[in-house]
Amino acid sequence: MPCSSTCSAGTDNKEQFAKLQEVIERYKGTKGSLMPVLQEAQGIFGALTLDVQKYISEALGIPLMDIYGIATFYSQFTLKPKGKYKVSVCMGTACYVRGAKRLQDKLVEVLGIQVGETDEEGRFTLEATRCLGACGLAPVLLINDDVYGRTTPEAVPGIIEKYRKD
């Protein structure tokens, strides 16, 4: 992901809306353009906040209700910005039978948040993903783009520590 919560936390988001406007111009006239626009908007803002939804609704002439319906239907869209680090455990079948649940339990304990939550500092979001296609390395832990294969619960505190520092 090119952009996380840090950019939507900025005070001045004019630039972001300008980027969004460019995206909308690019897709105008394309059939079925709402999904790609929402995807790019989330990339720009880190989340589909109500302001962003309203803007898209007006620009594309699509009722806000429909946009909200889509933003809440697909699990990839988020209405609230996520933490700086997205910590996700693969909960695909291969990882599950090789102990992904124990890994997840340990992360809940170490991070002090439940799956789907973001900590108060806005540093970590804990998520569950589906098969990443790296089943050979099961169980797999993903922190943003860093992949940790064959992870054990015992290794979790050490891994997380690295991301607490900066």
């Binding site: 079948t93 039978v97 589906r130 089943c135 294969g149």
Partner: protein, 598 residues
């Protein structure tokens, strides 16, 4: 083309990528430069070789030396020893890739590949997927040329029908018949779609094909467009597959530049172009009507059929939808003829199937086998058996819609019909091996948890019914279940199967029914004896101290968060079962393996 004396193929599929293959490629390039070999030796990044377990994988041609688990630190040695001096780096060679007399075996003699038949994966790991020239060098786009210049649309359809190809996306519907329906549908605007949503949470063959050989799918879609009379294609791909998206984008661009997509292809007047649409994380969007509504930019909710997509699909127009792997077969069928394809496989299931082999198995990865291969061959010969000498319990196929194959059916030839008969299904090709340490009730709960999460909520049997089933399963795994619960599960399952609107709901009860069929005793152990035989369900476990092994070191009693462990120093300790919260902290701490979990 420049001539190179050696080629270094490095896998850049997702598995190897996660094990660090990008760094390996970088280091190879640097090292070759340092040794002034960059004009003699070429580094090629390829798609998946299949043996993801031992990645990153590097193969050096012309010898065909198969290196596994290559770290960037190993690269200088390969360059200085192998590439400069011509000496194999034995310590890095995959153990099964050289004979006893140190001769490099060809890949098809390696146990993992010997029993495989690579049709759809034939280019994966062989060509650079980001160079259309390499695909063309391996007969790429010849099938499209042949179809456009030598065959009528009806002839193309006839060939596909004759081959006996059935859909690889799950249901196994005859592909040729589907093409015929779409061809016959009235309308001047039609669409060809590719289902690359790959929702089964343990399957990744579609992604590997798209990452390793994207043009084969583009070519097949263009052939399908010609056959049914469509000029526009959509590939619906999950956004979770960034590498595949990138390679597809490049492939489409390159095909357009060479005039293999776009207007007037091969000067025949046939127009066809392809766009990508990214999914956004909803399993139900793999269902055909939901997928089409998602392409239109709406909520991906299924709708009742008929009308079938062949008549009313994307934007209300006749639409053909096939799976990635289904398409990847097409160019081969056109080039080699339907008889060739039909000669592979069993009576009613022709060709090959790719399985993503995972779970408790030594060679995790992608395998492509002829239909009719037995499970025993897949698991023990190709897959190399189960790690740690554990006992095979079952193989789960078909993901959340499928079921499990117990040990008694290990020798059954695998095809669409045999799998359905024993209560599982082919599905998209996930094959998860389960050993004695996995609890079947917990596995059923895992899949139900998945379907409840992914149900779109449109129809009550699925929205409410699967939730009820999950609640029952949770009760059972927490030791609060009764025998009546098992009967209720069965009744609910039958009702949901009969009344849900789409395939998701209709197949959601399968993992429960199948585990009940073959592992009822495990369910009974949970509800009657309040025991989990595999030792997985936390609430049913008891931690006890083995007197003979305990040295009375007091460590366990210090880590127990609820003070459930007591005893005298240097005497065996005991755990108070009423206080124990089963966190397992004591077991982790004990240095004498004196704590048992049962």
């Amino acid at each position: 083309m420049e001539l190179y004396r050696s080629h270094v193929l490095v896998c850049e599929g997702t598995g190897c990528h996660c094990s660090g293959s990008a760094e390996v490629i970088e280091t190879f390039k640097e090292e070759l430069k340092k040794n002034q070999l960059e004009n003699e030796i070429k580094v090629v990044s390829t798609g998946c070789f299949g043996l993801c377990e031992i990645g990153p994988i590097v193969i050096v041609y012309p010898e065909g030396a198969f290196y596994s688990g290559v770290k960037k630190e190993d690269v200088p040695e390969i360059v200085s020893e192998h590439l400069l001096k011509g000496r194999l780096v034995k310590r890095l060679l995959y153990h099964d890739s050289i004979s006893d007399s140190d001769v490099v075996k060809s890949l098809d003699e390696v146990e993992f590949y010997k029993k495989q038949k690579r049709v759809t994966l034939r280019n994966c790991g062989v060509i650079n997927p980001e160079k259309i020239e390499e695909y063309i060098a391996f007969d790429g786009y010849r099938a499209l040329g042949k179809a456009l210049t030598e065959m009528t649309p009806l002839e193309v359809i006839e060939v596909v029908k004759k081959s006996g190809l059935r859909g690889r996306g799950g249901a196994g519907f005859p592909t040729g018949r589907k093409w015929e329906f779409a061809h016959n549908a009235p309308g001047d605007k039609k669409y060809v779609c590719c289902n690359a949503d790959e929702g089964d949470p343990g399957a990744f063959m579609d992604r590997s094909i798209l990452e390793g050989d994207p043009h084969s799918v583009l070519e097949a879609m263009a052939i399908a467009g010609y056959a049914i009379g469509a000029d526009q294609g959509y590939i619906y791909i999950r956004a979770e597959y960034p590498i595949a998206v990138k390679r597809l984008t490049i492939a489409i661009q390159q095909a357009r530049e060479l005039g293999l997509l776009g207007k007037n292809i091969f000067g025949t007047g046939f127009n066809f172009d392809i766009e990508l649409r990214l999914g956004a994380g909803a399993f139900v969007c793999g269902e055909e009507t939901a997928l089409m509504s998602s392409i239109e930019g709406k909520r991906g909710e299924p709708r009742p059929r008929p009308p079938f997509p062949a008549l009313k699909g994307v934007f209300g127009k006749p639409t053909l939808l096939n799976n990635v792997e289904t398409y990847a077969n097409i160019p081969q069928i056109i080039l080699n003829g339907p008889e060739w394809f039909a000669s592979i496989g069993t009576e009613k299931s022709k060709g090959t199937k790719v399985f993503a082999l995972g779970g408790k198995i030594n060679n995790t990865g992608l395998v492509e086998i002829a239909m009719g291969t037995t499970l025993r061959e897949i698991i023990y010969e190709i897959g190399g058996g189960i790690p740690g000498g554990k006992k095979f319990k079952a193989a789960q196929t078909g993901g959340p819609s499928g079921g499990c194959i117990p040990a008694e059916h290990l020798d059954m030839p695998i095809d669409y019909d045999s799998l359905t008969e024993i209560g599982s299904m082919m599905g998209s090709g996930g094959m998860i091996v389960i050993d004695e340490d996995n609890c079947m009730v917990d596995i059923a709960r895992f899949f139900l948890d998945f379907t409840v999460d992914e149900s779109c909520g449109k129809c009550p049997p699925c929205r409410i019914g699967t939730k009820r089933m999950l609640e029952i399963l949770e009760r059972i795994t927490q030791g609060k279940g009764t025998e009546e619960d098992i009967d209720n599960l069965e009744t609910l399952a039958k009702n949901i199967k009969a009344s849900a609107l789409c395939g998701l709901g209709q197949t959601a009860p399968n993992p429960v029914l199948s585990t009940l069929r073959y592992f009822r005793d495990e369910y009974l152990a949970h509800v009657r004896d309040k025991k989990c035989p595999a030792g997985v369900c936390q609430a049913l476990l008891q931690y006890t101290i083995v007197k003979e092994l305990c040295t009375g070191c007091t460590l366990c009693s210090k880590v127990c968060p609820v003070g459930a462990i007591s005893g005298e120093r240097k005497q065996p300790f005991t755990i108070d079962q009423d206080k124990c919260i089963k966190c397992g902290a004591c077991m982790e701490k004990c240095r004498f393996k004196a704590i048992e979990k049962r």
